[in-house]
């Protein structure tokens, strides 16, 4: 006569795991059924591979949804302390076949839960599912309306048992009764009995939940029947405690067949993916709602004396962080934990007691070290591994090969990685990370310095592998079989679909960063086409900086930038042609926006380092700068740019004109704002300018001054306080007409200085400075002014 044992467990419960392991060793089954998707029967053998390190998860995924959506997917996570995992390992070790008996993922993924239309909720339901009936981890956190509470009771049957036992937290009750028990008789008969009683008295579940549960249990029974028919004699079933009575119930086979008839179905593939403790701990998304995976793992793995070991580990962790924690501390913490457990009437100190003890003794009442313990130990971030033989889409395999080649191992804890792009391996790493970002797998997030273009050969990345990246990779598998090919195809598709020029340029930049030379021609062509037809000079101006950055720093990454140069050339010319008309007749807001664009383009053109472009650009600016039709802000700013570039000699005249009585005060103030924006230092160093501004201000009629004041305040308010003070002091000096005895150095802009300079003696120093700055030193006889001019250029 065939014998069937049903072990009702709590998913991810270390006590259950230990009990299952012992019970299986005693029972010696010849087949093991486990709650999980039957599609995974084919790959369950991989669990025996020593290279498989939990936490891992079974992933079942369907074909990608139309468009670029994620494929429907569900995870069944297993940690080392999961009873299911122990059952799998036991079966693998004893060479016994393992079957998964839950409702096939093909049906589960095909029927999104009614009433919860959005995808997120569906995923949560599916993924958290294995732990759902048995991990009653929500002690009424949302004390909402009464209906909601009733709903929770329905989902949380164990809460009832706990309440009956006088516990306010079901998890703790289960911990005390099942998880924390040492050796002893098998708890499974008692669990089955309790669940039977509970199911009889539990209130009706909502219809859609009940329907789903019925189907799942019907399939479990059907699998069990089939297994017995195949002639297995001793069958062990490991499933959530809630399902035990249903499996033991005698239900005619044809009724189950009826329940399971005509379910919608999709094509599903399964595989193993690495999982993380952090994911187990989360209650939302793909998490399983295990409150303290690190603690459970410890309980399961520690060979006796778990409290002592745990607190010793905590002390070592704190010591690593340079907090002084002695063995005496640990002794006292253990005593306190035990005393607390006794006070609370618990058989063994649980996580709560240990945490209290750590807080009161090890951390001396402080919270930050406790958070460290929580993060590193209670959750205890770790990432599982899967063996090479695991089914993967080619893209995953390619990524794995790349990771191995570049010695860049995925890890669950966030980690900073510095890359020196002059080293080939770091350069390749950077390219890989950029490619993955293009594919929508943000394994690495670039540090703030990267995007700005100021970085030269150094990149900082924050790396953190999240399990759902595997789903993203499977989705991205549609683009190609290697990371490089897929990223190329993806970039080309994005370029084709881009609607604005700026989008295109950012794709181009990404391509360069990711070294996707094959995608570049297509992108460049799209870019050139778009630039030629785009009439809006603002778009062109937005597009330029990214391209120039790419062009300029392409060398560091040894990327081919030939086609890019052509596009940039074209862009600069177009901008120079289009800019002057675009600057006429702007209102205040438009002028401000234009100003920003001019600044970035100016920076880009300067960065480009091409004299012909710079000439053309500055020449373009000269027109609007002198024009009365240009907005004051723009005219002022352009004059300043030209002054800095040494292109105008009559700044004082221009300024005087702009702020003279003929101009309306608002325009004059705007002009000053534009002229002085981006740094008031010039006022401190250039007395002539300061005198001009000062004179204009002092000469304003009182009512005009009131008009101008807010505008001026806006300009000067942007300066840092010390600078404002310096300008103020300077201005006071001017008022008294005093010369400046405190500044013997004079300044560069033609303000005559009293101290004569010995040109011959200065020459040596000037020559050195010029060499340092990389300037060809002018012939010695050109004298002081020439040198000054070059120095000014060097400042740029």
């Amino acid at each position: 006569m065939a014998q069937v044992e049903v072990f009702g467990i709590r998913h991810h419960g270390p006590g259950s795991a230990r009990a299952v392991r012992r019970a299986l060793a005693e029972f010696k089954p010849d087949a093991v059924l486990i709650e999980g998707p039957p599609e995974a029967d084919a790959i369950v053998a991989l669990a025996a591979d020593p290279a498989m390190v939990p936490p891992v998860a079974l992933l079942a995924y369907g074909p990608p949804a139309e468009g670029e959506g994620r494929p429907p997917a569900a995870f069944w996570p297993f940690a080392a302390f999961s009873p299911e995992w122990q059952a799998i390992r036991h079966a693998a070790d004893t060479g016994v076949p393992v079957r998964f008996c839950d409702l096939p993922a093909a049906h589960q993924l095909a029927t999104p839960e009614e009433g919860e239309g959005n995808e997120e909720a569906e995923e949560a339901g599916e993924a958290g599912e294995p732990a759902e009936p048995e991990a009653p981890a929500e002690p009424a956190e949302s004390a909402g309306p009464a209906e909601e509470v009733a709903e929770q009771v329905r989902f949380d049957p164990l809460g009832w048992l706990a309440e009956a036992a006088g516990y306010d937290d079901a998890e703790r009750w289960w911990d005390d009764v099942v998880e924390h028990r040492g050796e002893g008789p098998s708890p499974f008969p008692a669990i089955a009995e309790a669940m039977t009683a509970l199911r009889e008295h539990a209130p009706e579940q909502p219809p859609h939940v009940r329907l789903r549960e019925e189907r799942r249990e019907a399939h479990m029974r059907r699998t069990l029947r089939r297994t017995l028919r195949e002639g297995f004699e001793r069958v062990a079933v490991v499933c959530g405690a809630w399902h035990v009575p249903a499996l033991l119930a005698r239900v005619p086979a044809n009724r189950d067949d009826q329940t399971l008839r005509g379910l919608p179905k999709i094509k599903v593939s399964t595989t193993w993916v690495p999982w993380t403790h952090g994911r187990l701990a989360q209650r939302s998304g793909y998490g399983a709602g295990v409150r303290a995976p690190g603690w459970y793992h410890h309980l399961f793995a520690a060979p006796g004396r778990p409290i002592e070991r745990w607190l010793t580990d905590a002390a070592r962790l704190l010591r690593e962080e340079d907090l002084h924690v002695s063995s005496a501390h640990v002794i006292e913490a253990v005593r306190l934990a035990d005393a607390l457990a006794a006070l609370r009437g618990r058989p063994l100190a649980g996580l709560d007691e240990v945490t209290e003890a750590a807080r009161a003794v090890l951390c001396e009442g402080a919270d930050p070290p406790l958070e460290l313990i929580h993060e590193r130990m209670v959750v205890g971030e770790r990432l599982g591994e899967v063996p090479d033989g695991t089914p993967m889409v080619p893209l995953q395999r390619d990524l794995q090969a790349e990771q191995r080649r570049l010695r860049l191992k995925p890890a669950a804890l966030e980690r900073e990685q510095e890359l020196d792009l002059r080293k080939p391996i770091d350069l390749d790493r950077s390219r890989l990370l950029h490619r993955l970002r293009l594919l929508g797998v943000p394994w690495g997030v670039p540090g703030p310095r990267n995007g700005s273009g100021k970085g030269t050969f150094r990149e900082t990345w924050t790396l953190c592998w999240r399990p759902e990246f595997d789903v993203d990779l499977i989705e991205a598998g549609a683009w190609g079989t290697t990371v490089r090919d897929a990223a190329t195809a993806r970039a080309a598709a994005r370029a084709a679909g881009a609607t604005t020029l700026a989008d295109l340029t950012s794709v181009a930049e990404d391509c360069l960063l990711a070294d996707l030379g094959d995608a570049l021609p297509a992108v460049m062509r799209a870019l050139a086409d778009r630039a030629a037809t785009d009439a809006d000079v603002a778009h062109l101006m937005d597009a330029l900086p990214a391209l120039v950055r790419a062009l300029r720093y392409g060398d560091v990454r040894s990327t081919g930038v030939g086609p890019l140069g052509t596009v940039v050339d074209g862009l600069v010319v177009r901008i120079c042609v289009g800019l002057p008309p675009a600057l006429a007749g702007l209102d205040d807001d438009a002028a401000r926006a234009a100003l920003e664009r001019i600044d970035t383009v100016h920076a880009a053109v300067s960065l480009l380092g091409r004299d012909d472009h710079l000439d053309r650009w500055l020449g373009t600016l000269a027109g609007p700068a002198g024009s009365d039709r240009a907005h004051g802000l723009v005219a002022g700013r352009l004059t300043r740019l030209l002054l800095d570039a040494g292109r105008v000699t009559d700044v004082e005249d221009r300024m005087a004109r702009a702020v003279s009585v003929g101009e309306p005060p608002a325009r004059a103030a705007a002009w000053v704002e534009g002229f002085l924006s981006g740094g008031g230092l010039v006022l401190v160093h250039d007395d002539a300018l300061l005198r001009l501004v000062d004179g204009w201000l002092a000469g304003l009629p009182s009512n005009a001054f009131t008009d101008v004041l807010p505008l001026l305040r806006r300009t000067f308010g942007a300066y840092p306080a010390p600078l404002r003070r310096a300008v103020g002091e300077r201005a006071r000096g001017l008022g008294r007409g005093a010369s400046r005895p405190d500044r013997p150095d004079g300044d560069a802009d033609g303000d005559p200085i009293d101290v004569p300079v010995d040109a011959d003696r200065a020459l040596a120093a000037v020559r050195t400075v010029a060499t340092v700055l990389g300037f060809a030193f002018p012939a010695a006889d050109q004298g002081r002014t020439g040198t000054d001019h070059d120095m000014r250029g060097a400042d740029e």
Partner: protein, 369 residues
């Protein structure tokens, strides 16, 4: 020792009875129903002590009033600490019931909360160890009779809980005298070539203030001989209102104030003002306000309400009104006449004034400030 006679003083005869006097009946009932094992030297079992502190119901149906309103786990840690004969350090900002908890713990554990050393800048070492009766010392030379034991020494002899208030206010050298007592549980008396060894039940509860941390920072040697429990400010408005109402009621009875319905609404208002100023934002979370220099603890809220009741009873119409608490509130908030006054005015004009149901309170505050 000598004070045990005065323990029988009827409640009315002293201004403030000790915890073990005031709650003698409750303690006796608890002891009666307490069938759990008691650690050596304890009057009650740890369970009963926890019940005494947090309140509950006894098998005979009589209620135990809660002495501490707050997280249960904190009191459990505190009691468990004492049960493992460790010293307990209660930390917290002023007014978080540190002294209150320590007094009641001592009363419940050893039935005596008077073995108290007050830490001040001038606390001498004799207060922690022992002193001498100099007349006797001169007449008879060093002898046991000439020795004047400190509260700590008495606690060690009798196996009771000694209390140290404001531990961080003591000079460091006096603090260090505690180290031997806490680790070796003995107090040597070299003059008599003898020592006092603590009997079971002896332990120390110290309180220290978070705010003036660093006055005399505890050495790490001393620190590690304590288990630390940080007492937080009340978590929510309702909890704080509950604490204030309860204490005001008790105090009112102790001071035999005329019966005044301590309007819960008024208490809630005071607590709200205190919480808002303390946390720097209004309860609806929509306005940021500046925090004054004072601590604005729950204890201060209690005293504001109590004095308001006294005002209402003696000079008002017997009902607690906004005008009765306004003066107290302004006094509690404006500690620093220059900066706090500005902060208070700002709060009054931007927050209080905007609340239509607070008109009376606004007017009252305007009058006094």
């Amino acid at each position: 020792m000598t004070r045990s006679e005065s323990g029988a003083t009827p409640e009315a005869a002293v201004l403030r009875p000790h915890a073990e006097q005031q709650y003698a009946a409750e303690l006796a009932r608890l002891a009666e129903h307490d069938d759990r094992p008691r650690p050596p030297g304890w009057r009650l079992s740890p369970w009963a002590v926890t019940t005494y502190l947090l309140g509950g119901e006894l098998p005979d149906g009589s209620a135990v009033t809660p002495k501490y309103v707050g997280p249960r786990r904190l009191m459990e840690v505190a009691v468990a600490t004492l049960a493992t004969d460790r010293a307990l350090l209660l930390l917290g900002v002023p007014g978080t019931a540190k002294t209150w908890v320590s007094e009641h713990l001592a009363a419940a554990v050893s039935g005596d909360s008077t073995l108290l050393v007050q830490g001040t800048a001038g606390t001498p070492e004799e207060a922690v160890r022992y002193g001498w009766n100099y007349a006797r010392l001169l007449a008879e030379g060093p002898s046991t009779a000439a020795l004047v034991p400190s509260p700590l020494m008495r606690a060690m002899r009798t196996g009771a809980v000694a209390r140290i208030e404001e531990l961080t206010r003591m000079p460091s050298d006096v603090q260090d005298a505690l180290i031997t007592i806490l680790s070796e549980k003995t107090l040597p008396v070299p003059e008599l070539d003898t020592e006092v060894q603590a009997v079971p039940g002896f332990t120390v509860i110290a309180t220290a203030n978070d705010r003036d941390r660093g006055v005399n920072e505890l050495s790490s040697a001393l620190r590690r001989r304590f288990n630390t429990v940080v007492l937080p400010l009340p978590a929510g408005v309702d909890e704080e209102v509950d604490i204030v109402a309860r204490r005001v009621d008790q105090l009112g009875r102790a001071l035999t104030l005329p019966e005044t319905p301590a309007g819960l609404a008024e208490i809630r208002r005071v607590v709200t003002v205190f919480r808002e100023l303390r946390s720097g934002r209004t309860v609806d979370g929509r306005t940021t306000v500046k925090s004054p220099s004072g601590t604005l603890s729950t204890a201060e809220a209690i005293s504001v309400i109590t004095s308001g009741i006294a005002l209402a009873a003696h000079f008002g119409d017997g009902v607690l009104r906004a005008a009765d608490v306004a003066g107290g509130i302004v006094g509690a908030v404006v500690q620093d006449p220059a900066s706090d006054r500005v902060i208070w005015q700002e709060y009054l004009e931007t927050v209080v004034r905007e609340r239509p149901e607070w008109r009376d309170f606004y007017r009252a505050c305007r009058e006094v400030s």
